[in-house]
Amino acid sequence: MSHPLKKVAIIVGLACIVHAGFSAAQHRSFVRLTEQEFSSLPLDIVVQSILGLFLASYGILMVSGDFKNIQVNADMKEKSFETVGNRFAFCTFEHRGKALYSRQ
């Protein structure tokens, strides 16, 4: 799954939850105004908020970044011995390459 789609999952999930929240508040005020007894939320609000929670959690799990290997020699396996000997302090730039490859 490509990276933007994960963010889309988070945004859609959050939008679902926010919409369900406003719907629930509206339902509460509707029940209060019509002087009915509040028993429970309508099923669609419940389903929408729980689906939104799952979608957003999935997106968060994907976005939070890959785990890294905790074994010490894991990241040294692909590197050659030359990597160890590469010392920047000993780099020299005063050599023939300056004359050979310089643009006149």
Binding site: I17, A25, R28, S49, S57, Y58, L61, F67, Q71
Partner: protein, 120 residues
């Protein structure tokens, strides 16, 4: 790197190779899991508030969400126990660490959203 040591009967037994562990990467993985836990507990608190859960039902919902998050993290490491050993010292750590702070985050959002939706 396999080391040898004498067994009970004087025979040599072969030890499994010693695995050195990078503590910085352990901490990095735990902070990644912590990030997911904080966000998911805040979100599940929001949903619990919207649904209007009260009392023990809310805490049961939190336990359900924490278990679901644990399953998600385990699936993210690859599912198998040997695979999660590559990223974490133990699986139980993934379930139990930071749970105390997460439940406070949950209660904070739960009470806030419950008040916003159902009280006012």
């Amino acid at each position: 790197m396999s080391s040898r040591y004498p067994g009970k009967m004087g025979k040599e037994r072969r030890m499994p190779p010693i695995q050195y562990i990078n503590p910085m990467m352990v901490r990095f993985n735990m902070s990644t899991a912590e990030y997911a836990r904080t966000s998911v507990s805040a979100l599940s608190g929001v949903v619990a508030g919207i649904l209007g859960l009260t009392g023990l039902v809310g805490f049961a919902f939190y336990i359900f969400c924490a278990l679901a998050l644990f399953a998600g993290l385990v699936l993210k490491t690859g599912g198998k126990k040997s695979e999660s050993k590559r990223f974490f010292l133990s699986r139980r750590q993934l379930l139990l660490s930071g749970q105390f702070g997460a439940i406070f985050t949950y209660v904070l959002f739960w009470t806030f959203l419950y008040g916003m939706v159902h009280v006012y």
